[in-house]
């Protein structure tokens, strides 16, 4: 227990890369008085500092908790392997950046989990904090381990390690949890009492209060609460309207991967793409008004000194006042200059018009995501882009002096044939031909092809992952068809895809695999050059789980899925209906054109489909 001494850090930090990752004291960092604050929380991000500091959720929750009179919130990130080695060699425990208190001193360690491939870092961070990784081995006085983020919607692979999960948006539920921590701490309650109190909070999932029963073949038989406090299902929390965004975000010295002010302009998406987990789990759609966005941008720019701002949402061109917002922010002669990015554009001419507004004189490259090559397959995934839309958008881009167009596609989509993949080749060639008309040999098309990872809470949650043989054959079709100096083709690593797919759909038993892989040295699995594949293969083998079988199996409608006790507000019946419509090639409208009955109206209070819906 205690503070990691400055002298110790001074002796050893100069020996690691980027010491400022481990120092804190950035502009807008908040250091609240330790002794006077009843509840002490540390936000833990299981990736390196530069990645974690680019996460909007971290900035939002840091702001929310530090505003509470009864709590403080500090930060910690996964130490890079050189730092980890140094910490282990010198006996330095994982500490928080603000006060340099070691993690074991906090009441609450809250992991933010945005991605499947950094779960081994969660275990590693617990271990570096000197805590047993398994929840049932941690003593009562150990900090409570909380986790939230998109991974919490399918939490079972981490159920052995995490005390409680927050399902959904943390802005309101986190203060409720902190109030319970404060009350139970004052009362001197034991851990079980505290967990039972937490289990009653809407949106909190305490895995130990749910029993998992298996069928003889290893599939799930049932997930059943074993205490009256446990909710079933656990319905995610939403905030409506969106609370004010953080206006004093922390400004790192080490350059974060997204080095700009981030203003969330909208949460949720109405497009209904069937592969998209974010589109399902972040429902319903809530917009910030033009005035709110513009004021937030101006305040954040003033409070940070940023000259670049990202307007964040799942589909920024869908904001009803996006053009007006851009005009308010980007006027001639603005001092100091401001540049604006919209990270997620649609594939249409309107989006190019927007890009013209915000890119100004910069023309780095414009990205479109048609996702599938043939109209038939775009209908299957409910990506409402026609070939004509795409070609018009591309033409508008090249005509407006962009020389580079980036295209995103997926393979491994349900019902996909080689002909659909050949359609990608033809589409890309058509795009390249338009580029050539405008820019001759300077035109460039960059094509990124990923493999569909079927995600929980999407209509494709029942779909298998594409087998490797077919994947290679289809990649070959692309490779041969797109051999041109004007076209650059990139893939995602198959091992990463497989691991992501297994963890995405894994149940509670997968926790043992994760623990074994971590013990064998797996860390930073998302970083291709750090992925320790041998450790994973050995861990799967030792636990008798064949990852190929796990992901290549089509689930039936009546099969119990490992996340069936978690509800994101979109009903299982709707997802199945969407899956059936998908394989029949039937599209479903954008729900702003009329409610499509996903369940969010009843469960979340959605009004996106109109008041009458």
């Amino acid at each position: 227990m205690g503070i990691v001494e400055q002298r110790t850090l001074d002796r050893w930090l100069p020996t690691v890369a980027q010491p400022m990752r481990y120092v804190g004291a950035e502009w807008n960092a908040v250091l609240k008085p330790w002794a006077e604050t009843p509840v002490r929380m540390v936000l833990a991000y299981p990736d390196v500092y530069e990645v974690g500091m680019s996460n909007l959720g971290v900035q939002i929750l840091y702001d929310v908790v530090n505003r509470l009179p009864n709590a403080l919130c500090e930060r910690t990130f996964a130490p890079w392997p050189d730092m980890e080695a140094m910490m282990r060699a010198q006996g330095i425990p994982l500490y928080a950046l603000e006060s340099h208190h070691e993690l074991a001193d906090f009441d609450l360690i809250g992991f933010s989990l945005p991605y499947e491939l950094n779960l081994t870092n969660v275990l590693n961070m617990l271990d570096l904090a000197g805590l047993p990784v398994r929840a049932d081995r941690r003593p009562d006085d150990a900090p409570l381990i909380l986790a939230g983020g998109s991974i919490a919607y399918h939490p079972e692979p981490l159920a052995d390690f995490i005390d409680a999960f927050v399902i959904g948006e943390g802005e309101e539920v986190l203060p409720e949890i902190i109030a319970i921590i404060e009350a139970t701490k004052q009362a001197g309650a034991d851990k079980l009492t505290r967990l039972k109190a937490l289990a009653r909070v809407p949106g909190v999932y305490v895995p130990r209060f749910y029993d998992i029963a298996y069928l003889p073949d290893g599939r799930l038989a049932a997930i059943t609460p074993n205490t009256p406090e446990a909710q079933f299902p656990v319905l995610k929390r939403v905030v409506d309207p969106l609370p004010p965004p953080p206006l004093h975000p922390i400004l790192p010295y080490v350059q974060p991967v997204h080095d700009r002010a981030m203003i969330e302009i909208m949460r949720g998406c109405t497009q209904g793409c069937r592969f998209c987990q974010a589109g399902m789990i972040y429902r319903h759609r809530r917009e910030r008004t033009r005035e709110e966005v513009v004021q937030a941008v101006e305040a954040t720019v003033r409070n940070t000194g940023h000259n670049e701002v990202g307007l964040i949402s799942l589909s920024s061109a869908d904001h009803s006042q996006i053009a007006e917002i851009l005009r308010d922010l980007l006027y001639e002669g603005r001092q100091p200059p401001l540049s604006v990015t919209l990270p997620s554009l649609r594939t249409d001419a309107f989006s190019v018009e927007l890009a013209r507004l915000f890119q100004g004189t910069r023309r780095s490259g414009l990205t479109f995501a048609p996702e599938a090559g043939s109209q038939r397959l775009r209908d299957v995934i409910n990506k409402k882009v026609s070939e004509a839309d795409l070609l018009r958008a591309v033409e508008a881009a090249y005509a407006n002096k962009w020389q580079r167009v980036k295209l995103y596609f997926m393979i491994g989509l349900p019902t996909e044939t080689d002909a659909d993949v050949q359609a990608i080749v033809e589409l890309v060639r058509r795009v390249a031909a338009i580029g050539y008309e405008y820019h001759r040999k300077k035109a460039n098309v960059s094509v990124t092809v990923s493999t569909l990872v079927p995600k929980p809470h999407t209509p494709f949650q029942w779909t298998p992952l594409l087998d490797e043989q077919t994947l290679h054959r289809r990649q070959q079709i692309l490779k041969e068809g797109l051999r041109s100096p004007a076209i650059h083709l990139g893939y995602h690593d198959m091992r990463t895809t497989l691991l992501e797919a297994v963890i995405s759909r894994g149940g509670r038993r997968l926790g043992r695999v994760i623990e074994r892989a971590w013990r064998a040295g797996a860390r930073f699995d998302a970083w291709e050059d750090h992925l320790n594949w041998d450790a994973w293969i050995a861990a799967f083998a030792a636990e008798g789980i064949d990852p190929q079988i796990e992901v290549r199996r089509e689930r039936t409608v009546d099969e119990v899925l490992p996340w069936d006790h978690i509800s994101c507000g979109v009903s299982r019946a709707y997802l199945w209906r969407e899956y059936e419509r998908s394989v029949q090639g039937l599209t479903t409208r954008d729900c702003r054109e009329g409610c499509t009955g996903c369940g969010a109206v009843e469960l979340l209070g959605c009004r996106a489909g109109g008041e009458e819906a």
Binding site: L13, L251, G305, P337
Partner: protein, 215 residues
């Protein structure tokens, strides 16, 4: 960058403390850019695709060192009084960067890095008797040449050493060094001298007391 515009040049003297001593040079420049924007001073930007303000640090500080009087020149599009710039900057600087003074500088004054004559450092040592440090210093100063390798360069440090002294306060040993910049622009680095003295393992902290200029 200044086509058709009248610019005003200012010089900031600041100290760099513990909280920012590991900030790398490029990261520090980005931090100053943002501090100046937060302070709301009218920075002059380069023209072109990606406008950036013009800032010049007199002498980068090696990572891990603190500094008593560091210098940064910056250019404005409107004349502001040094007092008002100081006031605005003080409200915008983070822990570990403290504004000491701001002055107006002639626009055509030579670039500051070219005017450096020498810099003085005070090094705090750990776990070493003062006599041993004195001996190491005496031996080194008695040599005609002190060949060092630093960042892939092999050179003679001896002519860049203006002076080295040792003192002790309350049992703590300090090494004071004054290092020169020669006519070819080579600058004596404190870490090179510490290595040459064989004291690398005993350094607790390195503090730059000041930079001294010809003009």
């Amino acid at each position: 960058m200044s086509e058709g515009r009248t610019l005003y040049r200012m010089r900031l003297v600041f100290s760099r403390g513990e909280a920012t001593k590991y900030v790398g040079h490029l990261d520090l420049m980005r931090a100053w850019e943002r501090i100046l924007r937060r302070a709301g001073v009218p920075l002059a930007y380069s023209q072109g695709f990606n406008p950036h303000p013009r800032l010049t640090l007199a002498m980068p500080l090696p990572v891990g060192c603190t500094g008593e009087r560091e210098e940064l020149d910056f250019w404005l599009t409107e004349p502001l009084s040094p007092e008002s710039v100081i006031e605005r900057l003080r409200a915008a600087t983070p822990t570990g960067l403290d504004v000491i003074e701001v002055s107006a500088v002639d626009l055509h004054a030579p670039a500051r890095p070219a005017c450096i004559r020498r810099a003085d450092y005070r090094v705090t040592l750990d776990d070493i008797p003062v006599e041993q440090v004195r001996r190491a210093v005496d031996e080194l100063l008695a040599r005609q040449t002190v060949m060092v390798d630093l960042h892939g360069k092999h050179y003679d440090l001896r002519p860049l050493i203006d002076g080295v002294s040792v003192d002790e306060q309350n049992g703590v040993v300090f090494l004071n060094m004054s290092l020169l910049r020669d006519t070819q622009g080579r600058i004596g680095r404190p870490d090179a001298l510490i290595e040459a003295l064989g004291l690398g393992a005993h350094v607790r902290s390195v503090h730059r007391l000041g930079i001294f200029f010809d003009a």
